[in-house]
């Protein structure tokens, strides 16, 4: 009986370690310098700040909004790549399209935003 419990406990510990390791790998995967460079190049910073008020929501606000949502990355990638209609002070305009064709680079930017 004790052997079974110990084996269950071991499995749980192993599973938790794996999840922890995956999360930490994911967190480490964000190349902050590259993300900030692409954000600047794409003029994101003209309307968005990391934490302060500008015409667009701060990255922290976006990160909070999408916290725990499975489709967060996909939604934001689509948002950046397609230039959807947005409203600023009630006036509709097209969102700037990210200045990159490299999916990995765009994904890195999205992960950067979501990790703020």
């Amino acid at each position: 009986m004790n052997t079974i419990r110990a084996s269950h406990l071991l499995k749980v510990v192993l599973a938790m370690s794996c999840v922890g390791a995956m999360l930490s790998v994911q967190a480490q995967e964000v190349d902050v310098a590259a993300a900030e460079a692409l954000a600047k190049k794409s003029n994101c910073t003209k309307c968005h700040s990391v934490s302060a008020k500008k015409d667009g929501p701060a990255y922290k606000v976006t990160a909070e909004k999408f916290k725990g949502k499975a489709d967060a990355e996909a939604t934001l990638i689509k948002h950046l790549k397609t230039g959807p209609k947005i409203k600023i002070d009630g006036v509709e305009e097209e969102h700037q399209i990210v200045k990159s064709k490299d999916d990995a680079e765009i994904k890195n930017l999205v992960r950067y935003i979501l990790s703020r």
Binding site: T45, K46, S49, V50, S51, A52, K53, K54, D55, I88, D89, V91, E93, Q96
Partner: protein
């Protein structure tokens, strides 16, 4: 009065020496002051301390105000020191506080200490710019000389909004030459410009 004049006449050599000496001393003081003001406004002086060189100056390198198509640059003093004589001297005196912190308290003498103070230091700059309607920005960026037609539609809309809402440059254009600090921005901290 006549006695005084007589005395001065009899000691004309001393009077002449004092006048010429006083003039030369004043001229030397003025030249030294101007040279001091000019020297303390150079990039070399501002980056003479590691507190600036390794942090904000390193961040500024490669930004639009450092490197761009035309090669026209805005160095530290262009953005952080006003050009008007009285405001300039006032700012220079205020900067002596920075010397105090450099030599006595060492308040930002490590990268960790600098990061801990980054937001506070940024708010000092934002506050000053809000109070002066971003005078340092406007020394180069004259809003009445902007060719609006050459601006993007988005920029036109934002600038029109800024005018209507009495916003100043720093309200939106913060964190452009240095890392953006973590926390509320100028609009949230100080409201509309004066």
């Amino acid at each position: 009065m006549r006695g005084l004049l007589r005395t001065l006449r009899s000691r004309w050599k001393l009077v002449l020496a004092l006048t010429v000496g006083g003039f030369l001393a004043s001229a030397a003081l003025i030249v030294a002051g101007a040279a001091g003001l000019a020297y303390t406004s150079t990039e070399a002086f501002c980056t003479g301390c590691h507190e600036m060189r390794d942090t904000v100056y390193a961040e500024y390198k490669g930004t639009i105000h450092d490197q761009n198509r035309t090669g026209v640059r805005a160095i530290c003093t262009d953005c952080h020191v006003p050009r008007e004589p009285v405001a300039l001297i006032k700012r220079k005196f205020e900067a002596s506080g920075e010397l105090y912190h450099h030599f006595i308290t060492g308040s930002i003498n490590t990268p960790e200490k600098f990061e801990a103070k980054r937001y506070e230091l940024a708010t000092h700059v934002w506050k000053r710019m809000k109070e002066t309607d971003s005078v340092e920005c406007r020394n180069c960026h004259k809003s009445d000389k902007m060719n609006v037609e050459l601006q993007s539609a988005k920029a036109q809309a934002r600038h029109a909004k800024a005018k209507t809402e009495n916003l100043t440059c720093i309200d939106c254009h913060f964190g452009i030459a240095h890392k953006e600090p973590d926390g509320p921005g100028p609009q949230e901290l100080f409201g509309k410009a004066k």
